[in-house]
């Protein structure tokens, strides 16, 4: 996956590396030009000095080298070369046993050039050629080669330093850029987290633009427009459910009353009774569904007053489970694993907590397979209390597990189309848990175990 952080860091470091290389090359080039030209000036000056000390007096060649103090002419092998010829006849050569270094022989006069003295030693060479005393006189030629090891070593040292400094600078730059980029991207990450937090129901408010960078403001503005639209849609959907449930109440009351009155009528024909009983069962299931929908709508619009108190979640779970067991007509056999001995104090409205527990526990008892088990485990910590309800025999796949809290979603739609299992129980449970300031999560474990965790806030700070 592409990462904005990596992209930005690479771009910034790449640019910096190119700039650093260019600057280093420029610096190196300038140093080289300066050092070589300084050497060239010296070589040219020495050559000129030697040339100017050669005169033709009365047909005799006079050379006045004394007092010239030309260190370049000291006869050190391999460090330099000096030669004077007259009409191609050797007059002076230092070192006297060395041959003319290649390159100096045919070198153009009055121009410095590179001369290979062998053994990895390079020198700058210079040739001065002229005729004594006029153009027809004897031809003089002064050839000079001066060791350039000093300036070249200095240049090498400079190159090494530049590479070392560049490498360190680049490493520091990478770290610095990572920090800067991470810092710059913090608002984007915060935006993502804020959006993720909204997934679990926090759609009520717009996103805050305070302290947000200029570039992200339009993004947040658009997100807020989108949030408003989602809210509108949700409100419409809720209003529709509430209105539909409300409008169903009167005809349902008519249906139920008609059937109940007919059922208890002394004039009822015995043959009609079973049919009437079935109609009544279905109508009562419809009533339960309408009641659940109305309840859900009430919880969602949050208009009812919230009356919290300190409760023991473990105790509530045990009591609710007992009730469910007493009312159960199911022939199923399954093991019950209760680990709810310890206190699990929480702060919530008892009626809502019972609604949550009842729906989740009924769900577990309904879906557990014959011969399986239901586990009820309580836990508590300073932040609050939680209860975990797990059952075997789940048909909910891992992909579908996030959908179990959606109204009317059913894992086994084809199997049990009854009012009690209309797919509203867990939606109601979630709304009720959220109303209590808690949360409810579901997960589908490997091997067909369905697990629900209900968490509620701690009573500390409230009492």
């Amino acid at each position: 996956m592409r990462s904005l952080k990596a992209d930005l860091t690479t771009a910034a470091v790449g640019t910096a590396a190119v700039v650093l290389c260019a600057a280093s090359l420029a610096l190196y080039g300038a140093a080289r030009v300066y050092l070589v030209s300084e050497l060239d000036q010296r070589v040219a000056a020495v050559t000129q000095l030697v040339a100017s000390s050669i005169e033709l007096e009365n047909g005799r060649l006079e050379m006045e080298f004394e007092g010239l103090h030309i260190t370049e002419l000291s006869p050190v092998a391999g460090k330099g070369f000096f030669e004077i010829t007259l009409d191609d006849q050797l007059l002076v050569r230092t070192p006297h046993d060395a041959g003319m270094p290649p390159g100096l022989d045919g070198a153009p006069p009055d121009r410095a050039c590179w001369i290979d003295l062998g053994g990895g030693t390079w020198a700058r060479g210079y040739v001065r050629a002229w005729s004594l005393p006029d153009a027809t006189g004897p031809r003089m030629r002064v050839s000079l080669a001066v060791d350039a090891s000093g300036p070249l070593a200095a240049l090498n040292a400079l190159a090494v330093s530049l590479i070392a400094v560049g490498t360190v600078a680049l490493a520091v730059l990478v770290l610095a850029m990572r920090l800067v980029v991470a810092r710059s991207l913090r608002p984007v990450i915060a935006l993502g987290q804020s959006l993720r937090a909204r997934e679990t129901g926090g759609l009520a408010d717009d996103m805050d633009t305070a302290g947000v960078t200029e570039e992200l403001r339009p993004v947040i503005a658009e997100v807020n427009v989108l949030l408003a639209r989602v809210r509108q849609t949700l409100d419409r959907e809720r209003a529709f459910s509430a209105n539909a449930a409300h409008e169903l109440r009167t005809p349902l009351a008519g249906l139920l009353t008609t059937l109940e009155v007919a059922q208890s009528s002394p004039k009822l024909h015995p043959d009609a009774k079973p049919t009437l009983d079935r109609c009544l069962t279905v109508s009562r299931q419809l009533k339960q569904m309408v009641d659940a929908l109305m309840h859900l709508a009430r919880l969602e619009n949050g208009r009812d007053r919230y009356l919290p108190a300190e409760i023991d979640l473990a105790d509530e779970a045990n009591k609710t489970w007992e009730q469910i067991r007493k009312q159960s007509t199911d022939e199923k056999h399954f093991e019950i694993r209760q680990q709810t001995a310890e206190l699990a104090p929480a702060w919530a409205e008892p009626l809502l907590v019972r609604l949550v527990l009842r729906n989740v526990l009924c769900n577990a008892a309904h879906h557990v397979d014959d011969g399986g088990w239901v586990a009820i485990t309580s836990a508590s910590d300073p932040a609050g209390a939680s209860i975990t309800i797990e059952n075997t025999g789940s048909l909910v796949s891992e992909d579908d597990v996030t959908r179990v809290f959606e109204p009317f979603w059913r894992g086994d739609a084809a199997r049990s189309l009854t009012g009690l299992n209309a797919g509203l129980g867990l939606s109601l449970a979630r709304r009720a848990a959220e109303r209590c300031g808690g949360s409810i999560t579901a997960s589908s474990q490997a091997g067909g175990n369905f697990k629900v965790v209900i968490s509620l806030p701690s009573p500390s700070g409230h009492i």
Partner: protein, 229 residues
């Protein structure tokens, strides 16, 4: 006992009338608010079952009007509105009970029975007057442990006399309690029921328990008396 049902949804209204009639009540019913007010003002009802959403006048206005007129008749509100504030408002305006649609008919009946009993100062569904035990819910009469078979009308007459035991109940009051507004029974129907009741009570060993107060009405006595003043 006579009830008034004001509910505009025909199916529900007709079923309520049937169910309440089966339970032994005389029932008047209407689906219109103003007509309901007219009934409530005129009739002597033991309880009114009142829907809130009604054509021409809503239930709450009707309730406020009859309470302003000092009409003490118990009123049970029947509605699909389930917000706490709706319920509180209804009860504050003078309703005696509140049932949310859809409801179980048996529960509604039980609540109506409570209201009717309350009107006569009774706390249970059993009334006992000198060995005559009347079970208003089971519609059973026992005298000294023996069941007494009565028709629905006879039961209704005995019930109203028992609920007001020791008081003279006028012929019109008895009539109003056992017949709905639209029925047209014969003029001496109350006397006929009383005569039959007396005969059955006598057969069961409770002779001379219904006294006649000439020009006024009838009275159920705790002890047998031959006196017919």
């Amino acid at each position: 006992m006579k009830l008034l049902v004001i509910e505009d949804y025909d199916v529900l209204r007709e079923s309520l009338v049937e169910g309440l009639t089966n339970a032994g009540y005389a029932v008047d019913a209407t689906g219109d608010g103003e007509e309901g007010l007219w009934y409530a003002r005129d009739g002597k009802y033991d309880a009114v079952i009142l829907d809130l959403m009604l054509p021409s006048m809503n239930g709450l206005t009707l309730l406020k009007t009859i309470r302003a007129e000092k009409n003490p008749c118990p009123v049970l509100i029947l509605t699909a509105k389930d917000h706490v504030e709706d319920r509180v408002r209804g009860l504050n305006e003078g309703a005696d009970d509140y049932v949310l649609k859809p409801f179980a008919f048996d529960e509604l009946l039980a609540r109506v029975n409570v209201l009717v009993r309350g009107k006569y100062g009774q706390r249970t569904h059993r009334t006992e007057v000198g060995g005559i035990e009347i079970d208003s819910t089971g519609r059973q009469v026992t005298i000294n442990g023996q069941d007494l078979a009565l028709t629905a009308r006879e039961f209704a007459v005995l019930e109203v006399l028992a609920l007001r035991a020791g008081e003279v109940v006028t012929r019109t009051e008895i009539y109003d309690h056992i017949y709905g507004f639209d029925s047209e029974p014969e003029s001496n129907v109350v006397d006929v029921h009383i005569a039959q009741l007396r005969r059955k009570l006598q057969d069961a060993g409770a002779a001379n328990r219904i006294g006649t107060r000439r020009g006024l009405g009838y009275i159920l006595l705790a002890e047998g008396s031959a006196c017919e003043a």
